[in-house]
Amino acid sequence: MPRRFARSAPSKVDKRRRVDIRVTHMAASDALWWDTRLGPKHASMAGRADRYWSWSMLLPLCHLVQRAKRRYCRPLVFWARADSGRFLRVGMLIVIEAYPYLDVEHPADSHFVWFMSGADAGLLTTEFGMSNPPALGRVLLDSAIVLSQNAGLAGRIGLHAAAAGGDGLLAVYDRFGLIRLPTVAPLPPSVRRPNDGRFFYADEPVAEGLAAALDASR
């Protein structure tokens, strides 16, 4: 049986509490909503790596650029249950399928987490009636791992921590348990850029450990 996406996440406010999560494919209207309702607020938050991201632009761009490279993107929207009982968009994710695995010692394909964003928890509470915004980071990464596993890639994933996220973003991925690619390690030839020390990946055992930890919430 293929693994499903996680359907709940802990609340950021009360870790003992679970928040219902649902995952849908991302359409232009989702990107428009995000850019309109959250984008301007996020843009004023200096610490956010995604403060200038326009999802309405990113969504077609990602599809087009990857199709030019004969790859596919999987853009997903994460919804969480608000106090009203209805669901609100709280996260966005774009994964590139069948991307070169970052550990060149073990040539293989993996999935690559290209763009990942969670709505600001304070905003969700003050402006969207969500008293328990979800802690979403692990769920977003888990979704990429599950897609990789179900595609026969054993959960292998890679990502590059946006420089705009500074050391804080590196610490987040470290805390999640991802493996940081050493700065001296070569990148797969098709990645075509120097290794700036901000690449992370999950090998098969790490991926399985991370996925298994969320199995109860699927």
């Binding site: 649902r22 494919h25 790596a49 309405s56 087009l64």
Partner: protein, 103 residues
């Protein structure tokens, strides 16, 4: 390119600009594109602006309205539909240029 959302095969200038932009972006690595996006500079290379007349969806939806994504691999038809849905809906008919009908 600035009218990417109105892309149609009969507009070779627009199509040419799209091809040029995508070709150029395809020479860059994903991390470089992430860097450009994060710096707010991607519009210099991909000057796509979504149509301003698209209705903004409501903030919330009922659970039964959500079509949950499968975590399994998609088939070709599903992939095509996903790509198609990434483009804004075309302008309503009333905004399209009129064509003269022959009697």
């Amino acid at each position: 390119m600035s009218e990417f959302m109105q892309l149609d095969a009969k507009a070779p200038a627009t199509l040419g600009a799209v091809v040029e932009a995508v070709t150029r972006l395809s020479t860059l690595g994903e991390a470089k594109i992430l860097e450009l996006v994060s710096a707010g500079k991607i519009a210099d290379l991909f000057p796509f602006k979504p149509a301003g007349d698209q209705p903004i969806p409501s903030d919330t939806v009922a659970e039964e309205e959500l079509v949950e994504a499968s975590a399994s691999s998609l088939n070709r038809k599903e992939r095509e539909a996903l790509i198609q849905s990434s483009l804004p809906a075309t302008a309503p008919k009333k905004y399209r240029p009129r064509t003269v009908s022959k009697r």
